[in-house]
Symmetry: C2
Subunit: 165 residues, 2 copies
Amino acid sequence: MSDMSGSSENLERRGKSPHSGPEARGDEPGDLPKQAWTLLFELMHAHMRNFPALAAEFELSPVQAHVVRQLGEGPLAMSTLANYLSCDASNVTGLVDRMEARGLVERRSSEQDRRVKMLVLTEQGVALRERLLERLAEPPELIASLSDDDLRALRDIMRRALRPQ
Amino acid sequence: MSDMSGSSENLERRGKSPHSGPEARGDEPGDLPKQAWTLLFELMHAHMRNFPALAAEFELSPVQAHVVRQLGEGPLAMSTLANYLSCDASNVTGLVDRMEARGLVERRSSEQDRRVKMLVLTEQGVALRERLLERLAEPPELIASLSDDDLRALRDIMRRALRPQ
DNA sequence: CTAAACAATTGACTTCATCAACTATTGAGG
DNA sequence: CCTCAATAGTTGATGAAGTCAATTGTTTAG
């Protein structure tokens, strides 16, 4: 009774074929990607609701948690981070100000280009990141209770989806 | 620190972490839920990055989009919405103020209990919601490019995961 | 050498979020 | 009936996160 009833009936068919399935009527086979995605989206949102609370366990805002997580890859220019967060560069200034005030990150002027400031996690930031990553990796109940077969299949599908194209 | 999670090492080894050990080896079967979850989480975050932009297509803030989506089920008390959003009740007041000002929702005093106010979508709100839901159901490229077999498997796994226990 | 392009910041402003305090209503018991 | 605790919503103060427009330095291109 949620999303795929009613007026979404006559949507554009994607490249999917109107071809003949034996069980063609019962299951709306036409929009497989949409079906899979809608369910995945449901699960995503169900889980995202408590991300702020999870971040708060580490006294981080949700965005700060995201930044700590991303910053593990190595030094990152402010503008690159802004791009990664899909937000304005001016937003990153304040964000980094607060994180720097807490001793989590450090601004380091780049030597090649003196306009650029590179962000690095402090030692404290690295330690926090490790704890955070372990916490994030804990699967929620909905996932943990899947069968091994489903988990293996899910893992492999996600690997294929995330594989750089 | 010597982490039980080979999986996060496996994911993060793109950068030069001072902590990455040489023992990074992928496929420990013991951590199946964690592996699957970590990948799923990756995809979630990759997609969540442009949720604000998607909401902006409808001139909604991310939270407003979320509310419009949830409000389709029927009238909802303010406090219930607050609970659903996992946020303080006082937050909902302003949120609904703005949405009411735009003619998307309506406060309706309950007759059984004059303290509560029920939220309902206006006609305009319903129309917007339909367009929004269609837009949300469009699968992102990462998903849409999966094979039919993968999509079917993913859909079925998600159904099992979301099945009320 | 000027002029355009870029990185980061600042300032004004909005939205989302919290907490504490307040109003109004409901629903107990005494 | 009357008081008292609990509940629903609002208000006010405050802070984080977001936007845009304008500014300051620093490359880089013509």
